[in-house]
Symmetry: C2
Subunit: 247 residues, 2 copies
């Protein structure tokens, strides 16, 4: 009905996918090189490569130039819990995660200025996270906070993220609202290589900003998660109406 002539490419991709799913080719294992594989399936190398490209965007195969094609080790699924939990809590939840933080002072570029409702070039502190699980890259995060909300660091030391989080939670006008936007896009070349994913594998992007009761945006975050193994979960309770009804 749809495609009476299934393409060689898809047939090969299906076969390899099956072999991986059933464990006949194991995670981490190297596939045979492309030429022998092509010969085995009796197709030309471009066709074989197209088949691999299919598996690549599905996140099943990782190509490494000069080394070979590898079956990707199934990483744990990443669940982003929306609705006010800080990244801090996220990280604490997974002891297996290893986090690298870089702190920089920057001047708000246009898009951040809009997101945080500050004037352009306002001083911000950027916390840049690279999160690893078991030596494999897992996710990327960048968190921005107005400089005056970040505790000063010692000489030449960088401000502490934990300190900043504690400070935010004790803010005078208290935190009032978290807004999270989830969208999908292709990774930038840098993101693709940092996360070690195909540049054709879409990423889940979460843009978050937190405001206090005065409407000031005290934090903005940009999270990039590999689309093949990330979910974002949001739970909303109707408790308010209930309490009102009960009270």
């Amino acid at each position: 009905m749809i495609q009476p002539v299934p393409s060689r490419r898809d047939a090969i991709a299906d076969d390899l996918r099956d072999r991986i799913a059933t464990g006949r080719i194991k995670p981490g294992e190297r596939l045979p090189s492309e030429s022998p594989l092509a010969a085995q399936y009796r197709v030309s190398t471009p066709t074989l490569r197209n088949a691999l490209a299919v598996l690549q965007v599905e996140g099943l195969v990782e190509k490494v130039h000069g080394k070979g094609n590898f079956v990707r080790r199934p990483l744990h699924r990443i669940t982003y819990e929306g609705g006010g939990r800080t990244l801090d809590a996220q990280i604490a939840a997974h002891a297996a995660l290893r986090v690298t933080v870089h702190t920089t002072r920057i001047q708000a570029p246009g898009h951040l200025a809009t997101l945080m409702r500050v004037s352009i070039d306002s001083p911000l502190t950027e916390f840049s996270f690279l999160i690893h699980e078991d030596k494999r890259p897992h996710s990327l995060a960048r968190i921005y906070v107005p400089c005056d909300l970040v505790p000063a660091a010692g000489p030449c030391g960088s401000p502490s993220f934990d300190g900043m989080v504690r400070r935010l939670l004790e803010l005078r006008p208290p935190l009032a609202e978290v807004r999270e936007r989830v969208s999908v896009r292709l990774p930038t070349p840098e993101e693709a290589s940092t996360l070690r994913i195909s540049s054709a594998l879409a990423v889940l992007v979460i843009t978050r900003h937190t405001a206090d009761t005065a409407g000031r945006v005290v934090e903005a975050a940009l999270l990039v998660l590999p689309g093949d193994r990330a979910d974002a979960v949001f739970t909303t309770h109707y408790v308010i109406e209930e309490r009102a009804a009960e009270g």
Copy 2:
């Protein structure tokens, strides 16, 4: 540093992308056929086609077999508002949308049974939505409700969605919780053709379920939105803590 030899494919894709962005090729317009284009860029047809494939996964170009390559008309961005707003309210918000509903009685397959916490093969009513904007497909939705919560329809008529929504809102054990999971995947072939997107363009999938205070799942929804123009937004308020502090 990364790629000292930019590929012809990317160069061509960049050029075409630029031409589209600057309006030199207008939305809806047909590109020159592939052979002339290839000749113009002095590359072979597969190379030219690879360049088009790049634009296709970006959602900029739509290929139509036998007709040509077309610049996609920029559709409005779709914003899914999370946190309890029903699809009903979603639709009402956009007068320009046209909705087709199909209603079916089904028996819960495994994944739905798990999601709704009912036993397998339980009777469910499926509301299947195909949403159009201005004659172009826009999004897909499937909503499942246990049959006993759906008002009976007249003979041979199908149960009304509006009636079902009203009924849910008046439920005896009131609604208590909405849980929404956002993830990314490639579209199934059917979804790709229904939404008229490339099968390489990722879709945003929202799985939602609503439970009453007794923990019964009274509604589950599966939404499929084209990844290149969909966002999901979730807003969480800290009002509860505030009220507690004030009271």
